[in-house]
Subunit: 343 residues, 2 copies
DNA sequence: GTGAAAGCGCTAACAC
DNA sequence: GTGTTAGCGCTTTCAC
């Protein structure tokens, strides 16, 4: 039963190798200041004894943890993609990641609290609903980088994709195909919804299609898209841009059940390029966020703050890109329709 | 710039409150042995100073970390559902979770290594490809609970759903609807695939349908299901049970594109009850794993090992349950078809 | 009820 | 090159 015996420590290795603990410490860290022979012998003993350095003691003593705390939500598929990028970027910057999940039963405050006790040197927050005042009290303690959420604060760095630009890309794509009557299903109260909606409206105006602007309230869920679709059925447009992929999926479902062909009768564009949109079954044209750039940016901001580098702009906006799949096509030439005007 | 100033420590609070550090420690831990008035005053000072205990120092000193390490894969949706259950169960048992993710760029060995350095008292492994010998060397160090994977070792606890039973439930459901020609698309090398396949075969035999047994090789991805569907098209059965939901989705797509109605011409049953299967668009009949029971079981096993309790069986098998949705129905009465035989 | 003191396992000065 | 020493922030005896 392993719980009875103590774990191997530096001192054990030192004793076994017949050297001082300081020397073993030097060897284990790969720091300069040890003879090649000694180094080898210590390493051999450590391996034989199954020695594992105690990160807690190590970090406690050295004052720094080189730990970056990340708060993510288990329910959000996009967060998982982002984690991959963050691990990679953090590793390259010489930092370790420590994860704290938000679940249906575990709030953001709890998640952040655990991370604070772990003495992270900075926090990366994915989305989330923390109020500005709460963000403030956290940011007063350590650098905070917020991803995919707004934060009108000088002490919080923000990294997110350019939602307005994404909407522009969606509308441009549809107009390029010949669409004019393009509606938008928004994301309600969700972060980014206002920006994506405004982007849609501006793009429509830019194309001289102000009269065709039509915003239907939606949300982030599949059911929101389904509800919005029902409202569109009375007078369907030839194309719709939707707040996110999941909502677009619900919308697609209702449209098809009501006999509307996609993209024959109506084209649909989602947002996020989640795995969902890639499924052959769904094959959704969408707007993809540049995960690697965003992850690298977040780490770069966090490290800059930690190391006190004056740093550049506190807000990083990453351009998204259009991913064309099977839910968009030219509009069916309606009776009396004018030929599409080129932008 | 907050990185300049030292964090608040126990000593700071003690000085400010005019008491000893030992007393503050007692108060902060809620341990008995402090006057009510003192307790209140210390708490007030701690709050005012924004004191956060340092978990590293705390755990270093107390010898125990009360930390459970979890290795999960960011790509697996099912893992995220499981995390929710684990956080809950761990909290109830008085343990904290520390997460280590496997990503496309970060292997299982790295993930486990980080956890070992964090001095977790036990490890919970989700799935994974570690070889038996590697598992052995980890299990020699600390208790290991493997979820959703096999581990023929006395020193590793295993918690998983009853894959064979799940297949039985799927087949029983289909036979009950009147199906006889039921095929199975397996999961290739994935954990659980062999069990689900064997369960299917046995259930078919139990129903006297041995002659209709038909196994098509597949995998865990959507493309695997799509490939399998193409192979089935030549002589389509009236129903298919598939290794998992994602593969079933790919299969559904190919079937429908080839003019086969679901469930009109062919019924489909998935496995896992992932969010995917719940989408209205997909609405897949599937086999659901009991996440809460599995999570609670894993924590219970880990804690029992940590605390040296003699403990019960080292393997926990949780029964799954059938979730009926829209992809299963009675078979279309074929010309000359015999009436379905009741089981 | 409260305080003093001894470490947990490790790193970082500083001597030798 | 190598050893000695002094803590990091906390918990835990053990006195008072």
């Amino acid at each position: 039963m392993q719980s009875a015996e103590r774990r191997t420590t530096l001192a054990d290795v030192a004793a076994e190798a017949g050297v001082s603990v300081a020397l073993v410490s030097i060897v284990m860290r790969g720091a300069p200041g040890a003879g090649a022979a000694t180094r080898e012998r210590v390493l051999e003993v450590a391996r034989r004894l199954g020695y594992q350095p105690d990160s807690r003691a190590r970090l406690l003593r050295s004052g720094r943890s080189r730990l970056l705390g990340v708060v993510f939500d288990v329910r959000h598929p996009f967060h998982h993609d982002l984690l991959t990028g963050l691990y990679d970027a953090a590793g390259k910057a010489g930092y370790q990641l420590t994860l704290s999940a938000v679940t249906p039963l575990r709030g953001e405050r709890t998640a952040v609290g655990d991370l604070l006790q772990d003495r992270c040197e900075a926090l990366v927050l994915f989305g989330g609903q923390l109020r500005a005042s709460e963000l403030a009290s956290i940011a007063a303690r350590l650098p905070v980088v917020a991803m995919m959420r707004a934060a009108r604060r000088r002490d919080v760095d923000v990294v997110h994709n350019d939602d307005a630009l994404g909407s522009h890309q969606a509308v441009d794509h549809l107009v390029g195909l010949g669409h004019r009557r393009i509606a938008h299903v928004d994301g309600g109260e969700w972060h980014g919804s206002a920006e994506r909606r405004a982007g849609y409206q501006e793009a429509m105006r830019r194309h001289g299609l102000a009269e065709h602007i039509r915003v239907v309230s939606g949300g982030a869920g599949e059911e929101d898209g389904a509800r919005a679709a029902e409202r569109l059925l009375g007078d369907p447009p030839t194309a719709v841009t939707v707040f996110n992929d999941l909502s677009a999926t619900g919308l697609l479902d209702v449209l098809r059940r009501n006999g509307l062909g996609v993209p024959g009768d109506i084209s649909v564009v989602g947002y996020d390029d989640t795995g969902l949109s890639r499924l052959a079954h769904i094959d959704l044209t969408t707007i993809g966020q540049d995960i690697d750039t965003m992850a690298a940016g977040a780490i770069e901001r966090a490290v800059a703050r930690i190391e006190g580098t004056p740093a550049g702009p506190r807000e990083m906006v990453v351009p998204p890109r259009l991913v064309v799949r099977g839910t968009t096509g030219a509009p069916r030439p309606a009776a009396g329709a004018r030929p599409p005007r080129q932008r």
